[in-house]
Symmetry: C2
C-alpha cells in the first residue's frame, strides 16, 4: 500500500479495511479523536460509538516533526523502527509491551492497545505515587530485551540480521548523538537560550573540558557498540503503568547499541525525579522510595540477566566446552559490572542534557519558582557530573546510591 | 547478469564481453591459466597470446570452499564483500591496492592488475628479504583506511551506510569468530589433531582458563565494535610487494569492526616470522630488522592517524566548538593508546590460533624438524599469551618490543 497521510476523517475508512481492528470492534461504528501529546507523530484515540470501553490507539508518522511542523523534516521511516522494535519486544517481554492490532511499514502506522487505566510514570512519580511492581517489571523488561537481542543469546547470523533491521534508523540515532551527547554542553541554537543567558551554571558546564571529554567517550560507545537491541529513549515518559501493570512504549529510537543505555536512561530519570522531590516537595519518604526503586531495579536486573545467561548453553560468544563453569561464572559477573559502569556514565549524560538542552523534563524545567529551578538544575548537574567522571570506577550499586544521597544532602 | 560458474574455457568469452578488459588487451587474442593457490576461490591468469607482458588476474567465487570441494558450502557472496572492500580501499589508498578492471557482484567475479613483479610478504620475510618501504606503505594503508571509514571522519549517515554494505558478511565474520577466537583453544575437529595428540603444550593451552577468559573479551570486542571498515585478514599473505611497491589484497573478510584488528594481525604475523628466525635461522640481524619494522609501522601509523584526525574539523563524533584544542589533542592521544592496546590483544589471538588451529602459517607449521617446530610453537604461545594477558596495560610501543625480545632471548 502506498503511503498516505491520514487525518481525523480518513482514519475510520482506513481502519474499516483492517480485519484485526474490525474483529476487535466487532463491526461497531467508530469515532476518532486526535490526542495531542505526541511530539513526533499523530496519535488518535479510536473508539466504538456504542461502547466507549472499546478503544484503540492509532499512531501515524508524518514526514516531519509534528510538534514543529512541515518545515522540520524528519523522515516517516522512524515508524518502521518503532513497529519493528515493538514487535520484537512484544515477543520477548509480552506482558510489558502493549498489544499490537495492526502495523504497516508502508503506511507508517500502528494500531495498539489503549492503556486507559495507566498513566505516564513521570507524572505518577512527580505526584509521589508509588508503584509496588515497577522494579520487578522494568528489571524483567531490561533483562529480557537486552539479553535476548545480544550476542550472549543469539547466534552470529541472527545477531547480524537484527543489526540489519535497525541499522538504518540513522536520523533518530543522530538526534541522540546531537542532543544527548553534544549540543546540550555547548553554545547551540537548539538549547534553552533564555536559561543559558548570563547563567554561571551554563558557563561552567560549557567550559568543563574534563566532563566533556568523558562525554565524548560515552558518545563514541553509543555510536559504535553493537551489544543489543535497545529501546533508545527509555525515560519515565516511555513507561505507562498502574499498581498492577507496566508497559514500555514509544521505542522509535531503537537500534542495536550499548547495553548500558536504556538502564542509564531509567536511572537518569529516576534521579531527576529524586532531585525534584529534594528541592520542591522535600518528601524524604518518597525520596527513599525512589532510591529503593533504583537499587531494586538494578539488583533484579543483574540477577535476572545472570540467570538467563547461566541457562544459555551456546551463543555467538560462548559455546559449551570452551571454558569451565567457574571461569564462565567469573566472566559473566565481570561482564555485568561493565554494564553497570556504562549505565552510570550514560545516566550522567541523560541527566545533564535535560538542563540546558532542547528537551527538558517536567520535574526540573517545569519548576515555576526561578530560584528553586536553579537549585534543582545545579543539583542535577552535580550528580550528573559525578556519574560521568566516576562511571569507570563504579563497582556496585551502593556507590551509585551514595553519589545521589551525598550530593543531595544539605 | 545471472551467476554462472566459469571455467578455463568459458572465461575468455566472458572477458571478451567486458569493455574495460578488452581496452586493456587492445583486442589481442587471450589465453587463461588457472593459478592454483587460492583456498577459497578460482583464480586465473589471463594474458595476451602475442604479448605475454599484458596480463590480468581473474578471481571468481564459487558457492563452496574451493580447496575442500562442493561438500564444504560457503556462499559465493563473500566475493561481494571483497569487491566492495577493494573498491573502497582503492579510493582511500590508491597506491596500495591493485587496480580493478572489472567487478560484478552478480557473477561474483573481479578482474584486477597482475602483480608479476611482487611476491607475498610472508615468503619474502621467511627468506630474510628486507623491504625498505614496507613500514612507510603499510602504516599509510592502515592509517588511511581505518581513519577514513570511522566515526572520526565520516558523518553519522555515511557511517551507517558503510555498516550496511558490509554487515551481512556473516559467514566470513563467523569463520574468524570460530577459528581465531574459539576452536583453536579447545578440543575441536577442525584443529591440527596430529600435533595436539599427547602434546603437553596443547593440554596447557586448552586448560589455560585465565588466557581463554581474556580471549573471550577480545572476541566480544571483535563481534560488537563498529569502529571502522577493516580488512579482516591482514596477515603477511595478504600483502604483495617488492622493494618499491606494496599492495594489500584479498579483503573478503572485510566488515565494520574494531580498529585494532588489522594492526594486530600484522603484528602477529611479523612476530610469527620473528619466532621462525629465532628458532630456525638464528639470523639476529634480520630479527632486528623485523622488530624495527614493527616499531616503525606502529609509530608511523600513530603519527599519520593523528595527523589525519587533527586536520578533520567535523565528524560523527566531534564538531568544531565542542571542546578546546588542548582537550581534543589529549583525547586523540588517549584514543590512539586504546587502539594500540587492543591491537596487542588481537595480535595475541592471531598468533596463538596458528599453533593448533585449522590454518597454520608456513613459518611455524612448515618447520620440518619436529623439535624445532615444537620449540617455535612454544615460543609463539609464550609471546601470544603475554600479549593477551597484558594488552590492557600496554602504553607504548617499546613495551610490545620488550615482550617479544625478552621471551625470545635464551
Amino acid at each position: 500500500m502506498q503511503y498516505k497521510e491520514l487525518d481525523i476523517n480518513s482514519i475510520i475508512p482506513y481502519l474499516k479495511g483492517v480485519d484485526e481492528v474490525m474483529d476487535y470492534f466487532d463491526s461497531d461504528d467508530l469515532k476518532a479523536n486526535e490526542i495531542g501529546d505526541g511530539n513526533l507523530n499523530y496519535v488518535y484515540l479510536v473508539s466504538s460509538i456504542s461502547d466507549s470501553n472499546k478503544a484503540l490507539i492509532v499512531k501515524q508518522a508524518v514526514p516531519y516533526l509534528r510538534c514543529v511542523g512541515e518545515e522540520f523534516a524528519l523522515s516517516r521511516e522512524r515508524m518502521t523502527y518503532e513497529i519493528r522494535a515493538l514487535t520484537k519486544f512484544k515477543q520477548i517481554a509480552p506482558d510489558l509491551v502493549p498489544k499490537l492490532y495492526h502495523v504497516s511499514e508502508d503506511m507508517s502506522i500502528l494500531v495498539m492497545q489503549y492503556l486507559d487505566k495507566h498513566i505516564i510514570l513521570r507524572d505518577g512519580l512527580t505526584d509521589a505515587k508509588r508503584y509496588p511492581n515497577l522494579s520487578e517489571h522494568i528489571s524483567t523488561y531490561l533483562a529480557q530485551t537486552l539479553f535476548k537481542t545480544s550476542s550472549l543469546y543469539l547466534d552470529s547470523t541472527s545477531k547480524r540480521k537484527l543489526i540489519d533491521e535497525f541499522n538504518s534508523n540513522t536520523e533518530l540515532c543522530k538526534l541522540t548523538e546531537d542532543f544527548v551527547f553534544t549540543f546540550a554542553y555547548m553554545q547551540n541554537e537548539t538549547n534553552d537560550a533564555d536559561n543559558i543567558k548570563d547563567n554561571p551554571l551554563a558557563k561552567e558546564l560549557f567550559s568543563d573540558m574534563e566532563f566533556k571529554e568523558k562525554v565524548l567517550d560515552l558518545k563514541y560507545k553509543f555510536m559504535t557498540s553493537s551489544d543489543a537491541l535497545i529501546h533508545g529513549d527509555l525515560h519515565t515518559g516511555s513507561i505507562m503503568l498502574n499498581e498492577e501493570e507496566t508497559y514500555v512504549i514509544d521505542p522509535e529510537f531503537a537500534f542495536v547499541g550499548p547495553f548500558g543505555f536504556d538502564i542509564g536512561a531509567l536511572i537518569a530519570n529516576l534521579v531527576n525525579n529524586y532531585v525534584h522531590h529534594t528541592i520542591v516537595t522535600k518528601d524524604e519518604d518518597f525520596k527513599d522510595y525512589l532510591l529503593g526503586t533504583i537499587k531494586e531495579t538494578l539488583e533484579l536486573f543483574e540477577s535476572k540477566f545472570l540467570k538467563l545467561w547461566e541457562a544459555q548453553k551456546d551463543s555467538a560468544l560462548l559455546i559449551e566446552g570452551y571454558i569451565d563453569d567457574e571461569t564462565a561464572q567469573n566472566y559473566r559477573e565481570k561482564f555485568l559490572k561493565r554494564i553497570l559502569k556504562e549505565a552510570v556514565g550514560f545516566a550522567g549524560c541523560k541527566m545533564a542534557r535535560r538542563v540546558f538542552g532542547v528537551a527538558g523534563v517536567a520535574e526540573i524545567r517545569g519548576i515555576e519558582d526561578k530560584q528553586l529551578r536553579a537549585d534543582a538544575e545545579k543539583l542535577v548537574l552535580k550528580i550528573a557530573r559525578e556519574f560521568v567522571m566516576k562511571y569507570e570506577k563504579i563497582d556496585c550499586i551502593e556507590q551509585i546510591l551514595e553519589i545521589i544521597k551525598v550530593n543531595s544532602a544539605r
